[in-house]
């Protein structure tokens, strides 16, 4: 097996793992405002997230960046909470058309920097020589894993939409997408808040 494919598998398995729940929930909360027809926009956002975490991962693994793992572990759920809050603000204020606004990839890319630092604390100890191919393969694997998570999230969110369509709130002028965004963001935001408290370095 080639080195590239081996590390692609490592990255893929790393992301589609129950232990990766913080990253999965971050992807879920990022995807919460999109419908199936917005898949292209969602993919841009997830790619921006990958670019962000690739940057810090590369900087940390090559020894150019040293970060406190305790602070990073705390910041990861904070990014989830902030994204959930942003979803709630968007859901209340903005019309559906504006939900695709272009700042979202920037937000995802910035938060990706934090998540990449989370990977880096583990990988910088293991990737010691000939890091280019392993690092590239690992990142490609993560991106593929994220696409799988995103597709699964889309199916789950579509299921939630079908449940919401039957609720009386839809008849009162709320769109199904607004209700779904609020519901998913609230649940994930609360869970991530608990994790942030548990991981607090202070």
């Amino acid at each position: 097996m080639s080195e590239l494919f081996t590390f692609m598998q490592l990255g893929f398995r790393h992301i589609v793992d129950v232990e990766a729940m913080d990253h999965i929930l971050f992807l879920m909360v990022l995807a919460a405002i999109y419908r199936l027809r917005d898949a292209k926009n969602a993919l841009w956002v997830i790619t921006a997230f990958t670019v962000g975490h690739s940057i810090t991962l590369a900087l940390a693994v090559t020894g150019l960046l040293h970060l406190s793992s305790r602070v990073i572990e705390f910041l990861i759920p904070v990014t989830i909470v902030l994204t959930a809050i942003e979803n709630l603000v968007v859901a209340r204020k903005v019309q559906a058309q504006s939900w695709r606004s272009r700042y979202r990839p920037v937000l995802a890319g910035t938060f990706g920097l934090v998540h990449g630092a989370g990977f880096a604390t583990y990988l910088q100890s293991l990737f010691v020589d000939r890091i280019a191919v392993p690092l590239f393969g690992f990142n490609v694997g993560i991106e593929l894993g994220q696409v799988v998570v995103l597709v699964t999230a889309a199916m789950v969110l579509t299921g939630i939409d079908k449940l919401i369509e039957r609720t009386p709130a839809v008849a009162r002028g709320w769109s199904g997408l607004q209700l779904r965004t609020i519901g998913v963001s609230l649940v994930i935001g609360v869970v991530a808040s608990v994790w942030a408290v548990q991981r607090s370095p202070w």
């Binding site: 590390f7 790393h14 572990e73 100890s125 010691v128």
Partner: protein
């Protein structure tokens, strides 16, 4: 209503009080055809390694020999000997050597280091065999693979 409640409870119960852990070992496998030896340098996270040693109550070499098994053409495990250990930044570098006059191509490998500790443990092995670079990935329950 029960479904969403169960999902919520599962989320809270998810093992994420600590950040997403990396359950991986990376091994560099090389051969010295002149002296007829092969060498593996296994990099493991030290906290995981100490946990498994505390659980299995065996010395490090015996544990590694049971979880990193090189087998000859006759189907017998090749005896491993330690060629040193060092610990840096939370990672233990565990070096083992074995005799193999025909190099790595004559051997098979089963790597299951720390697989008895984590279900999702992955052992990545990077080998240089006859000057060519190859990679192997072992998950829990993976069978031995020929290095030829």
């Amino acid at each position: 209503m029960r479904g969403p409640m169960v999902a919520l409870l599962m989320l809270f119960a998810a093992p994420t009080a600590r950040a997403h852990p990396m359950h991986s070992t990376i091994t560099e496998l090389s051969e010295d055809r002149v002296h007829g030896t092969v060498r593996a340098v296994i990099r493991v996270f030290s906290d995981d390694f100490h946990s498994v040693l505390a659980r299995t109550r065996v010395d490090p070499l015996r544990y590694v020999a049971s979880a990193f098994v090189l087998t000859g053409r006759d189907g017998r495990a090749v005896p491993l000997r330690s060629c040193g250990t060092k610990e840096t930044s939370g990672v233990i570098w565990f070096c083992v050597e074995a005799d193999s006059k025909d190099g790595l191509a004559a051997l098979s490998l089963r790597a299951s280091v720390l697989c008895d500790l984590y279900d999702d443990q992955i052992n990545v092995v990077q080998a240089t065999i006859g000057g060519a670079r190859r990679s192997y990935l072992f998950t829990r329950g993976a069978k031995a693979r020929s290095l030829a």
